[in-house]
Symmetry: C2
Subunit: 203 residues, 2 copies
C-alpha cells in the first residue's frame, strides 16, 4: 500500500479552505506541475499535448500502479462536487465513512464503495479487488496518517513543491517518532517540483 | 546570504527541549548524518576517518562558503554551554540580542559579536567582514525566518532527514505565501539524508 501527494515546503497538502480567489490561487500554486502533464491531460480527456518529463513519469507511475483506492469522507465530499462525471480514478474506490450508502458507479470504471467498519476493513476489501496491482491511499491527510501510523503503508511519494502556503491541511501532524522507520529511495527534481520516495517499516 | 539546516520530514529542525534521554535520541536521529562525516570529525578535531560521500561534500561546501555567521540569542545561549572551547565556526559570529556585551573571543578564530539594533544592522556588520565569502545564518528557526521573510536570503540548503519528530522547533512556520518565490536548484540523496537547495527571490 502506498500514497502519493503534493506537499508545500512548509508541510501542507492543501490550503485552508476559503471561498475566494486566494484559495484557488494557492491550490494552483501547489498543484501547478500536475496540470501541465501529458498524463493528466489524457486522463481527464483535456486533449493532446502536455509535458513528458520526470513529472509526467511520476504521475503516470502513480496511476498505473494503483488497482484500487482508499479515501476519507472529507476528500470524497469535496471531490463529489468537483470531479468530472467520469471521475479520474478508473478503479474501485473505498470511502471511509460512518453512514451506510449503496455503491456509486461512475462512467469510465470508477465505482465508489462505502465502508463504515474501519480502516482495516477498507484495506481487506481493497486487497480483495486489487488483483496484481497496488492499493493507493488517495487522501486526505488524516486518512493517510491513520494508515501510516498503523504501520500499513509500505512506500510513499511526496512531490515537494517549492512554495509556502502558510496555513492549511498539514500532511505530517503529530507523528509518533517511535512507530516508523523510513529510508529514502529516490530524490529527483524538475524545474517544477522535487519527487521524494520513502520506504516505510513499522518498528 | 544563505542558511543550511537539517530538517525532519515533518518540518522540525530540533526536538522539543527535554532534559532527558529522549531529547538526545531525537537530536541524534535528526543529525545522524553529520556526525559520521570526515569534515565534521576534522572540524571538531575528533580524529581521523569518516565518510567522504555526498553528505560530506554538502557539509564541507557549507563551511567553506561562510566567511561570517549570524545567529539568534537562543541558539547562542544553548551553544555557549555545549560548544567545545574551540567553537566550530572559525569566523566572526554576529549574535542578535537585546543586551550589550563585549565581544567574546574563542581559540581557533571564532569571535562572537553582540548586536542589539536589529537584523539589518547585523547583516551590514557581517558584510563588512565577510570579504570574498558568503554570510551564513546559523540559526535558529526564528532568526532564519526573519531574514527569509525580509527577502534577504539568496539561497538555502535543507538536509531533509527521513525521520519524524512529532513536535519541536518548526523551521517554516506561518510563512507568508505572497512574499517569496522559490526555485529548486538541487535534490540529491544519500542513504542518510536528502539534500535540497533552493534559490530565493523576494516578490
Amino acid at each position: 500500500m502506498f500514497f502519493s501527494v503534493t506537499m508545500s515546503l512548509d508541510g501542507f497538502i492543501a490550503p485552508e479552505w476559503r471561498s475566494d480567489e486566494q484559495w484557488l490561487q494557492q491550490w494552483l500554486g501547489l498543484q501547478d506541475f500536475v496540470v501541465h502533464q501529458k498524463f493528466f491531460r489524457e486522463n481527464l480527456k483535456l486533449g493532446e499535448g502536455g509535458e513528458t518529463g520526470v513529472d509526467n513519469t511520476h504521475l503516470e507511475r502513480t496511476f498505473q500502479r494503483a488497482g484500487v483506492s482508499i479515501m476519507g469522507k472529507r476528500m470524497f465530499d469535496a471531490g463529489e462536487h468537483s470531479w468530472p462525471e467520469e471521475a479520474p480514478f478508473h478503479t474501485p474506490v473505498f470511502v471511509l465513512t460512518h453512514k451506510p450508502r449503496a455503491p456509486w458507479e461512475r462512467p469510465g470504471g470508477t465505482v465508489f464503495h462505502f465502508v463504515n467498519d474501519g480502516i482495516e476493513s477498507a484495506l481487506r476489501q481493497a486487497r480483495s479487488v486489487a488483483r496484481d496491482k497496488d492499493i493507493r491511499i488517495a487522501g486526505g491527510a488524516q486518512t493517510i496518517r491513520q494508515y501510516l501510523q498503523a504501520g500499513l503503508v509500505d512506500e510513499f511519494h511526496v512531490a515537494l513543491a517549492p512554495v509556502f502556503l502558510g496555513e492549511g491541511i498539514r500532511l505530517f501532524d503529530r507523528m509518533d517518532p517511535k512507530k516508523l522507520s523510513l529510508s529514502t529511495t529516490e530524490a529527483v527534481h524538475s524545474p517544477r517540483v522535487t519527487h521524494l520516495r520513502y520506504a516505510v517499516k513499522a518498528r
